[in-house]
Symmetry: C2
Subunit: 426 residues, 2 copies
């Protein structure tokens, strides 16, 4: 039986999970592939702390060259995360004609161009299924299963932490801060959760998905982005009353020859397939000219789902099937559409003095900017300042900004108006 | 640019859809793969009727040998369906070392062994993504994306016709016959819909999925099967009242070393991800040791979704990636578990005389056979014979059969008792 020798860089939780999964399912993999997969060397800066799996002491090293320059290593797996030194390791492996498997989403979002170009020039394969949506085979599906489709749109819930927080806020009617605290206690959020809650992590993953969906360079910093920090249980509740569910969505569409790329909280009709994605799960909803609507659902993070995708990439490369990068020849640099030009429906929550004529003034201001109202909720409350909720027809982002500037200056408006996009099929 | 010459056998709706899709997305495919895909020859017994796409008259033939023996043909696509002559064409293509792509689920379910063995012996690739769940890349995901996973269970809604009928019955509270009639009118059911409504089509597809999930020969005729012909809107309504949704499920699990294989109507908790699969859509829910729970959702039939999967297979083969059949070396012949031994929860609807002591007699009979009642609905009705609905704890299939025999003989029971399995996580 042929042996595939793997060099693993990064021996943290994810790296240890890979070592364990390869050990536990060794026979299964041998049956399915006719190959034996062996972790020949593991590099980490810390080689003394105990791990959840036992490995022979001799295979541990602190010197990456023991992997990158060892002719016995067939495939390099990078699981340290972050930009440096991961980038140097990956480029060096590729230059040494060693195929690479990585789960590093921020690196691919930041430095994808140089990595893919280096792989392409050196005719070396690179696998990165684990970089987006954990165990869901979405890269493989986009690149292979849907290769014949013009992708029209892609809507993802691709950050488990924020989906968990929003699900808890909806279910328990608790504040963002309380839900975040609980998510940290239960291990669904990291101590420093800024990358997740600000939408940066989703933007990284969206940049990777959009690149393959639309074969275009997608600089992640140009993705319009709002986090979930300002979401309140009140808005979730009003949304639900109106028949919507609040989610942090990552959206990519090809429109008028340009790319529409955005990550923000959005109200989705409860009938939409993505509405049922609860807790720390991920979901990706795609439309293509041949497949129509399709949805993938699964665990978006964790050692096991990541190991599942990393091993799938290792097997593909070992079987000579991995990503051939043929598309690099035709990669485009599409323009990124201006968010101000984007038209969606909108949810507004105005905090207004409860006195006659207020509704009329708000409506007049909206009308002046060409924004028409679909529905409105104003309930009797025993307070001076009351929430006035409005759902609008399709409106341009720039008109909404203009109207907000105007309305938030009115003396009857007592707090900054809350604005949330409403996503519906066009 | 390298050209891949395709020989197409079968120029009906699906075949025409493939020709059109390859034509319309020619440039897209060239960009993504660096290859040009050309339909070089089309074989059909009818080469004179007009089709929705135009092709050069010269490429049409009624002689399959013009494709199977033509050295210029790189890949043979079989889209005629049925067992004969499709089997002969496929075997001949494989023996001539021509890779084959097929969407023929009944053929693969009936004759998979000989087809896969012939491909394996001749070292030729075979693609069959389109045979199950239309445009959903489920075969690819099972064979590649989840290659590292021990699959625990697979639950599929893999027949769009029956799911459409059941959705309509639930939504409009109409009878099976009326829903079937409407499905035929709208093109969701074929004139002869027996294969669909009896569960045979689902069993064919389940045999293919289970083969790859568990690397075992799966004779489709040994799959336990019930159709949806006897489902009434009354049972759907009671199920919904109890928090369940009625679906025709195809289920495969590895249990005690054997395969549990079954296709039957089942009540699923409305919180289950498959519950939200409505209309003619398909959904496949999988659990694996690394990925945990995962779901795929999409169109399960039609010319476009089928073309999507057929082209994906063509591209994979052209790129040298297709199914290598390495698993054939280790294919198993697992035992098929006896349906009588299977334990599930159950829904019963007894049609009983509305008089004192009836409930007690039913309950006594159930108790005697070790079946305990979870909940019961009996409503006041102004009729002599009333439905008594019971939901039970886990019970063995053989005990249920025994108890039914007993209860249906009682003088107070006026109709054959309705029994539906309830699927819940164990």
């Amino acid at each position: 039986m042929k042996t595939i020798n793997i060099g693993l860089i990064g021996f943290g939780t994810i790296g240890s999970g890979l070592v364990r999964a390869l050990k536990e399912n060794k026979n299964l993999l041998a049956e399915r592939t006719g190959l034996r997969f062996v972790i020949r060397r593991i590099c980490d800066k810390d080689i003394s702390s105990p791990r959840e799996v036992k490995v022979k002491r001799g295979i541990l090293t602190r010197n990456s060259e023991d992997i990158l320059s060892d002719p016995r290593i067939d495939i390099v797996v990078e699981l340290i995360g972050g930009t440096r030194p991961a980038l140097d390791y990956i480029l060096r492996a590729l230059q040494n004609k060693k195929p690479v498997v990585t789960a590093n989403k921020s690196l691919l979002a930041e430095k994808g161009e140089i990595i893919f170009n280096t792989a392409y020039k050196n005719k070396v394969k690179i696998g990165f299924e684990a970089s987006v949506a954990g165990g869901i085979p979405i890269i493989r599906s986009l690149r292979e299963g849907f290769v014949a489709n013009r992708i029209k749109g892609l809507y993802g819930i691709i950050n488990g932490t924020t989906n968990y927080i929003l699900s808890q806020m909806s279910e328990k009617k608790i504040s963002f801060n309380q839900a975040l605290r609980e998510a940290k206690e239960k291990g669904y959020a990291e101590k420093n959760s800024k990358l997740d809650i600000s939408g940066i992590d989703s933007a990284h993953k969206l940049a990777i998905l959009a690149r393959f969906a639309f074969n275009s360079i997608c600089p992640w910093k140009r993705i319009y982005r709002e986090g979930i920090e300002k979401i309140t249980p009140l808005d979730i509740e009003y949304g639900e009353e109106l028949g919507y569910c609040l989610k942090l969505l990552a959206i990519a569409k090809l429109k008028n020859g340009g790319l529409e790329l955005r990550v923000h909280p959005a109200l989705l009709p409860t009938s939409h397939p993505l509405s049922s994605i609860q807790g720390a799960y991920n979901g990706i909803y795609l439309t293509g000219d041949l497949i129509g609507e399709t949805l993938f659902y699964g665990k978006g993070a964790g050692a096991n789902p990541t190991a599942s995708s990393v091993i799938a990439d290792i097997v593909s490369i070992a079987e000579g099937k991995g990503e051939a990068l043929n598309w690099m020849k035709a990669v485009k640099n599409r323009k990124i559409n201006d968010i101000g030009e984007l038209r969606t429906k909108y949810y507004f929550r105005f905090m207004a003095l409860d006195k006659p004529g207020v509704l009329a003034r708000i409506a007049a201001s909206l009308g002046k900017h060409g924004i028409s109202i679909l529905s409105c909720i104003q309930k009797e409350r025993e307070k001076k300042v009351v929430p006035v909720v409005m759902l609008t027809h399709w409106a341009k982002g720039s008109s909404v900004q203009a109207v907000l500037k105007e309305i938030d200056r009115l003396s009857v408006i007592k707090e900054k108006t809350v604005v949330i996009r409403v996503e519906e099929s066009e």
